[in-house]
Amino acid sequence: MKSAVAQANRLIADTVLMRWRGAVIWVLGGSAAMYFMALALRSELARFEGGREGLAASVQAGAEAMRLLRWPAERLDTLGGYLTYHNLTLFAYFLSLYAVVQASRAIRGAETSQALEPVLATGRTRAGVLLARATGFALVLLAISIGLGLGIAVAMAAGGEPNLAGSLLTSLAMGVCAFVAYALGAAISQLIGTARSAAGVGAFIVTVLYLLTNVWDRIGPVGVIRFVSPFYYFGQSRALVPDHGFGVLAVAVSLGMTVALLAVAAWAFERRDVGAPLWVRRARYVAPTTRVQRPALRALWSATVVRERTSLLAWCAAVAVWMGLMAWLEPNVIDVWNKFDFTRNLTVIDPRFSPSDHYLSFAAEILAPIVAALVVTRAAGWVADLQQGRVEIVLSAPLSWAGLVRQRLAALLAEAAVVVTGGITGLVIGALVVGADLYGLGLVRLAAMVYLLAAGLGALAALLVAWLRTAVAVTALTVCLGASYLFVLLVQLFGWPDWLTRVSIFGAVGHPYLQGPPVEGLVFLSALAVVGTTLAAVVAQRSAKVR
């Protein structure tokens, strides 16, 4: 008995150790976002024409129009009400996405890497392993909740509405919401073939639940779905909104759902084969493959694009939908955006252009961070290839390290081209639907600059991976890019001198939708691409080992 407890503790500790970096990023990133939002809103509440009530009335119309994205919107005349509506609802959604993906990996991912079998061979029950992993992740969520709760409290204090208890309780409710998503992911992953597919299906279900919960009273009988949505119960705990409190019953229901889902997951896990879902389709006859050489496999870059085609299509579709939605919302949100100082600061580049142009420019230039995120995911793949021995087999072919770096960057550029095309197509379709005018030349400039950004960031990522060779390279790149993007927003938000944007890699992109690209930005990104690629090749070639 003692030994079983010790084993469980080890698995719990292992889960916490694996996720603590992620928890720190959630706390720091979330707290920073809340803090700057609170500062901006404090300024708006103080100066807005018509005062707090005027601001709330202005925002309410846009909030109704964008209800699908976040809801409920109450007491927008207060910082607590606004933060809960504008930030915390979305934050709960993203934290739940994170949780559902981690749950898919916790068991099924370990099966893929064959790390689970030795653990089970030690005599642990499957349900015990699942429970230990879930407990470990609950501790991670608790740490995130407390850390973020304190961050929100600081933001509330900075915004002039100090509320420590409300901040902590709201954050705790957010953690509970994400834990339901974790249990959902654990249950779903028992039914799906692979960890990756399970993560995709889980993320899809969480997204559908989130969207439907936002509009539950407008979708007739389907609205009953809210009762199985963790976001509905999270919405009952709005301790930062005046006249609302912490929904003890809602939290209890959420925890009950978590227990039920984990029980279902454990039940299914006990009954299925390790490495296979609960229900397996019987094998069908497939004619033996004999011809294996295809034109797309003749180069590593094209073979990479072929291999990653599903993920690439998912990226492309998601970016197209997101940018299309941004364009489609333009008529509904443009008034509100134009009334807020902080949104004006974020979007206004050149007073000669209309508010609509500025909004569409902001929507279009979201492509830059999206492509940066694509680079980060591919860099993570390069590290995994190195650590899991796949680079070794590729380099056993007549291909040098320098050649491998070039092929990887070529694949990345091909993928970036697909994502950029998808995003711009979505933007154009969204704009066409609502009759918004787009600048064709601006879109071409945008595509070119984002593509150059992909080349520069790709080269930087290749250099970091060649140099550091571990997940530290990916973390460094993520932190660097996240801080860089946030910095540009802050410069715009607070009207800091423009030259400060030169510190940021995103500053080099400029605002190509409305203006010609900055010459120094062009030179910087081109130099980064060329020098970074060269250095990455040299550093990789000189490395003493493949892994």
């Binding site: 294996v292 050489q293 080992k545």
Partner: protein, 303 residues
């Protein structure tokens, strides 16, 4: 190897060293392998076989020493060399969800000029279904994919790390046929194994590596001279164990009553003469395998 000209030499290492510290790695490997030879690189787990092979493939870089393969420097000319080498790693790791045909197709694409019929023929001989998802294949079938990609471009040099691991006896026989055909076409083979019985069947020469150092190299015949016979005899006369111990090649002599047990390395003739004088009535002899000989050698050199 005396008398071999540069043109005859397929592989030569000179003081090849990779020191990971704490006695791990390989140290001062010096060796030549002739063209058309099948060389077996033998050693227990962790002896340094894979490290040596990865040095040859320029996957890791030596701290000192150098290797020339097919007349080219293994580091400077590694890209050109790898075009002429068929390499089987210890484990052929792949991306999730890809099919075996993707793996072979991509590696064939990277090499260029691989004959599709050759791939089809190898898949048929190895009884391999390339349409299946790679991660769903058994260990043995993954090994077949590894062998297929190593042989598909008819390389001049085959470097194979534990090639028969996980293969069933029928496929092992097919693998031996493939080796013989490759050598018949002029290829050289360098293979590692920890199973001596396996390399005994196919190799012309064998090198024994232990603790990262090459302990012994020789042709199969030379190594066979090292072989040890285990002798058991019943006799009715007198036998002096002190005299027995003086006989050339005889060791571990033990007389219990009228029964003798001992080991003999090399000729058994002197022992037979002594036994004849002691009126031997029953004689049983069995030859220890190379494996037992090497274990004996390692034991004596370590101890």
């Amino acid at each position: 190897m005396a008398g071999a000209t540069q043109a005859d030499i397929a592989m030569s290492f000179d003081g090849l060293t990779k020191d990971y510290g704490e006695g791990h790695g390989v140290f001062d490997l010096s060796l030549t392998v002739s063209c058309g030879e099948i060389f077996g690189f033998i050693g227990p787990n962790g002896a340094g076989k894979t490290t040596a092979i990865r040095l040859l493939m320029d996957l890791i870089r030596p701290d000192r020493g150098s290797a020339r393969l097919l007349g080219l420097d293994s580091r400077r000319d590694s890209v050109e060399l790898k075009g002429r080498i068929g390499y089987l790693p210890g484990e052929l790791m792949q991306w999730p969800k890809v099919s075996a045909s993707y793996v072979v197709g991509m590696l064939a694409g990277l090499r260029g000029g691989v004959d599709e019929d050759r791939i089809e023929s190898l898949a048929h001989r190895l009884q391999l279904d390339l349409g299946r998802r790679y991660e769903d294949l058994s260990h043995g079938n993954k090994q077949k994919v590894g062998l297929l990609q190593a042989f598909m471009h008819r390389p001049d040099l085959l470097i194979l790390d534990e090639p028969t691991l996980g293969l069933d006896p029928l496929i092992q026989r097919e693998f031996r046929d493939l080796l013989r055909e490759a050598v018949g076409d002029g290829a050289t083979v360098f293979l590692s194994s920890h199973v001596l019985a396996e390399v005994e069947v196919v190799c012309d020469r064998i090198g024994l590596i232990h603790d990262g150092r090459l302990r012994k190299v020789g042709s199969l015949n030379e190594l066979r001279a090292m072989r040890i016979h285990r002798i058991e005899a019943l006799f009715t006369g007198e036998l002096d164990t002190v005299d027995l111990a003086r006989l050339p090649g005889v060791s571990d002599a033990l007389v219990t009553g009228q029964r003798l047990t001992c080991s003999v390395q090399g000729s058994v003739a002197p022992l037979l003469e002594s036994l004849a004088a002691a009126d031997v009535v029953e004689l049983d002899s069995h030859e220890m395998s190379l494996e037992e000989v090497f274990v004996h050698e390692i034991g004596s050199s370590s101890g």
